[in-house]
């Protein structure tokens, strides 16, 4: 708690690409993780192989360009995929033996193949609508992405944001209320951003002005928002649902040409306004954090507040306003629950999405793009289950539901490993 931000002592082995000496260090983590996944995948795809034809539907009926459906013989696909997985894992091990890193794209290809094999295996004798699967995934991921962006900004500036859940919930509640009263979803969205900002104000005020531990404030704010919205829902919204809890939803906007791209077009460009705002937000936050003066200052305050203070950056003010901005972004994610997907507020409707977003922030190593990808992964995994339960999955649905979380644990333990956040994140800065 000293004012001097501790010099980070590099006690952990530095990643292999840091400097010439570090090249000696070999991390076997990636090949081991890939190997475990390969074995698991092979057991499932070959050991418990299923017979039949897996059909993948690639186009929706309203597409201009109709792609043919792809029929995969299930067992053969499983064998081919298993062999490819084995090859990649072996390749990774070979590279590590020669003291070289496994490129990230190789892990990506691995994940894609594993997924393909799994989809084929699970849908033996049935057909999977790929655009529908992806569309649903994106829908589930939208609030997670907004929340994760809020988390990234907040943590990059040095304030741990455990209150994402509260910001989402406050946004969802306010947007439902305001949009119902005014009849304008856009006003609801703005109100949601204000509500998220309000929650962030409290977080900022307590952690920056009163030096209260940021995790405490975050956790408590989640409870507080859940209590306030639950109370007001029971007292006001539920008895007057017709006037106070029937917000108009955003209309879907098809972007010309782009929405006709095969597979991706219907998924990405037939969405509501909030989703387009999300695309913009992801790019803006990425560009802002890494390529503007604002972002440089923000990161300086989060990494080494004293140095930032020395060169004349107002640490407290920078933190305060950026945490508020983070709250506004997360609040917009909350609006998606009521104005984008469900269409009415329900008690505790965020159901832990804020915590998943927090996990996405850490999973994505405090990087907006990676956090977005992590959020997409979570969204995909949750949606996969619902799609598979429709076509009738061979494993009990609970295990399907468990899968994304298990994969995350394996991925975090095996691939991401020790994640290092902004150095001063979580520490109050007390000017001496």
């Amino acid at each position: 708690m000293s004012t001097i931000a501790p010099v980070s002592v590099p006690t952990q082995p530095t990643p292999p690409d840091d400097g010439p000496k570090a090249a000696v260090i070999r991390s076997w983590k990636t090949p081991i993780a890939l190997g475990v996944f390969t074995v698991l995948g092979a057991i499932m795809l070959v050991g418990f192989g299923r017979d039949g034809i897996s059909t993948m539907v690639l186009s929706t009926t309203s597409d201009l360009i109709q792609l043919p459906t792809v029929d995969l013989p299930t067992r053969a696909t499983g064998i081919v995929v298993s062999l490819l997985l084995l090859a990649i894992a072996a390749g990774s091990a070979w590279r590590v033996r020669n003291s070289r890193k496994t490129p990230i794209w190789l892990s990506g290809v691995f994940a894609f193949l594993l997924l393909l094999g799994f989809l084929a295996w699970a849908s033996a004798g049935a057909s999977i609508p790929i655009p529908g699967l992806l569309f649903g995934s994106l829908s589930l991921a939208v609030p997670l992405i907004f929340g994760a962006l809020g988390g990234v900004i907040s943590e990059r500036v040095g304030v741990v944001n455990v209150a994402i859940e509260g910001q989402l919930l406050a946004g969802a509640f306010t947007s439902a209320l305001v949009a119902s009263i005014t009849g304008q979803p856009l006003l609801g969205l703005l109100a949601a951003m204000l509500a998220g900002m309000l929650v962030a104000f409290v977080l900022a005020a307590f952690s920056i002005k009163y030096f209260v531990d940021q995790v405490i404030v975050g956790v408590v704010l989640n409870v507080l928002v859940s209590g306030v919205t639950g109370f007001l829902f029971t007292q006001l919204l539920a008895p007057n649902a017709a006037t106070l809890n029937q917000p108009p939803k955003f209309d879907r906007i098809n972007i010309p040409f782009l929405s006709e791209i095969p597979i991706l077009g219907p998924v990405l460009f037939r969405q509501t306004l909030i989703v387009y705002i999300m695309y913009f937000a992801v790019i803006a936050v990425y560009f802002g954090i890494f390529h503007t003066k604002w972002g440089l200052r923000l990161r300086a305050v989060g990494e080494h507040p004293q140095a930032a203070d020395t060169v004349g950056i107002k640490v407290a003010a920078t933190r305060f306003w950026n945490v508020s901005l983070a709250g506004a972004i997360a609040g917009a994610g909350g609006a998606y629950f009521t104005l984008g997907s469900v269409g009415a507020f329900g008690k505790e409707m965020t159901a832990g999405a804020g915590f998943i977003a927090l996990a996405a922030v850490i999973f994505g190593r405090w990087d907006p793009i990676r956090a977005t990808l992590a959020a997409l992964l979570f969204g995909f995994a949750s949606n996969l289950q619902s799609v598979l339960s429709i076509i009738g999955s061979p494993v009990p649905s609970e295990f399907m539901l468990m899968l994304p979380y298990l994969v995350t644990i394996f991925a975090v333990a095996g691939l991401v490993g020790r994640s290092r956040g902004p150095a001063a994140s979580g520490k109050p800065y007390i000017k001496s």
């Binding site: 708690m1 919205t229 639950g230």
Partner: protein, 435 residues
């Protein structure tokens, strides 16, 4: 969230700078005369953490009162003609707020409506029943905090504890006493196992415990759901995803006879509190725990195996949370459990641990306070129609205010410890010298 756990674990031994903490330095100062001694006592009282806690509760209840009043139908009605008859509004506000809070009190401490003392005190025993799992799980979370680990995995740990301990309780036939102990140990081990996975992952691979605990919550929920639906926890011949009832031999005996729900779990929780206190402040392991919690790098330099401490801490933390889980199965809902047997206690425990400032006896007191809120909220909803959620608001505000003493002091215009007195003192000394 940094790689190393937060340098200032929530509510750890070092209170956030700016908070009063223990007014130790003040006692060292020599007392010059009678007047300033009384002044010192007054300051001790007004600036100490006890008064802050009381005022925080008062403030939180005030905010709750405002919310109750504003959403009350009678109050809204009389507010419409406030300027013609203001007394109506005040009367209605008083009626709404006092009605709610007296229902809260009578539902949690003492019911004046009952005839004898034995009946009147029933609500307080209910409070203790509700407090039991909160304290156990709160101790687990607090232990994690002291080592710099944020254990959000209470839900999963409770579920696994309930599943394993519950299975022992309903499927194994053992004599009285042994059966109870076996089920209890199985439950605690279950929680410890689920927590230990997190510790092991953190120690071996550096996986952040916030991610892994959240993920394991879901894994445990779906695993237990499956086991209840098709696995070994299923009640034979029933379609309900619910386990069979715990056997008589494993159920916690009632402490005060069959008229009260208070059971052995409360005694176990007292023992757990003593154990945690001893562990943290008297044992070698506890010293290493706290060293890692304060500064992992320094602890590593001092020769403490930080990795091993993470594993031990998560095992113990999970075990304590597991005690909360098994308490539910053997004490509170003995007629069989579902996948929501944790009933949010894993998350409430975080607030309890924060309110208790991660100190075992603080957690104990905080658990009883929250238990009282929980017990009282039901009668408040039944009697006055005030939604249970108001209790969440009040609880969270209490923690928030207690965490920020400067705010409470500013609201009540109390002196700041170490600040005003230091400036005031030289003046007093000067006057004495001048005489």
């Amino acid at each position: 969230m940094s790689d190393t756990p937060p340098q200032t674990p929530p509510g750890s031994a070092t209170p956030p700078a700016g908070s009063p903490g223990k007014p130790a330095s003040r006692r060292d100062r020599p007392q010059t005369d009678e007047e300033s001694r009384w002044h010192g006592v007054f300051r001790e009282i007004t600036s100490g953490s006890a008064i802050i806690s009381v005022l925080a509760v008062v403030l939180a209840l005030l905010v709750g009162a405002v919310m109750i009043a504003v959403t009350n139908d009678d109050v809204q009605e009389s507010a419409g003609y406030f300027f013609s008859r203001p007394s109506d509004l005040l009367g209605d506000v008083w009626g709404a707020v006092s009605g709610a809070y007296s229902a809260l009190f009578q539902g949690s401490i003492y019911n004046f409506g009952r005839g004898s003392f034995a009946e009147g005190i029933t609500p307080f025993t209910e409070t203790l029943v509700f407090a039991t799992p909160l304290i156990a799980a709160g101790l687990g979370v607090a232990l994690g905090f002291r080592v710099g680990l944020f254990n959000i995995g209470g839900r999963g740990q409770m579920l696994i504890a309930a599943a394993i301990g519950g299975w022992v309780a309903f499927a194994v036939a053992l004599p009285y006493g042994i059966h109870l102990v076996a089920a209890l140990v199985a439950g605690i081990l279950g929680g410890a196992l689920w927590g230990g996975i997190v510790g092991l992952l953190k120690a071996r691979t550096g996986a952040h415990e916030v991610i892994t605990t959240i993920m394991l919550n879901y894994v445990a929920f779906y695993l237990v759901s499956y086991l209840l639906r098709e696995g070994f926890l299923r009640t034979p011949g029933s379609n309900n995803p619910k386990s069979p009832a715990s056997k008589e031999t494993a159920v916690f005996p009632d402490l005060l006879g069959p008229d009260y729900n208070l059971h052995l779990g409360f005694i176990l929780v007292i023992a757990a509190t003593i154990f945690t206190w001893w562990l943290l402040s008297r044992s070698n392991l506890g010293f290493q725990f706290r060293a890692v919690g304060e500064n992992p790098n320094a602890a590593r330099v001092a020769g403490i195996s930080v990795q091993r401490m993470y594993v031990y801490a998560m095992l113990l933390s999970g075990g304590l949370v597991g005690l909360a889980g098994i308490n539910q199965v053997l004490g509170t809902t003995t007629s069989g459990f579902g996948a929501t047997v944790d009933s949010g206690i894993g998350f409430d425990a975080i607030t309890v641990a924060l309110l208790g400032r991660s100190k075992p006896w603080g957690v104990f007191a905080a658990g009883i306070l929250f238990g009282a809120f929980k017990a009282g909220s039901f009668s408040m909803q039944a009697a006055e129609g005030v939604p249970i959620d108001i209790v969440l608001v009040v609880q969270s505000l209490i923690v928030l205010f207690i965490a920020a003493p400067p705010l409470v002091r500013a609201i009540f215009r109390l002196p700041t410890p170490g600040d005003t007195p230091l400036r005031a003192r030289p003046i007093v000394v000067k006057e004495v010298a001048a005489k």
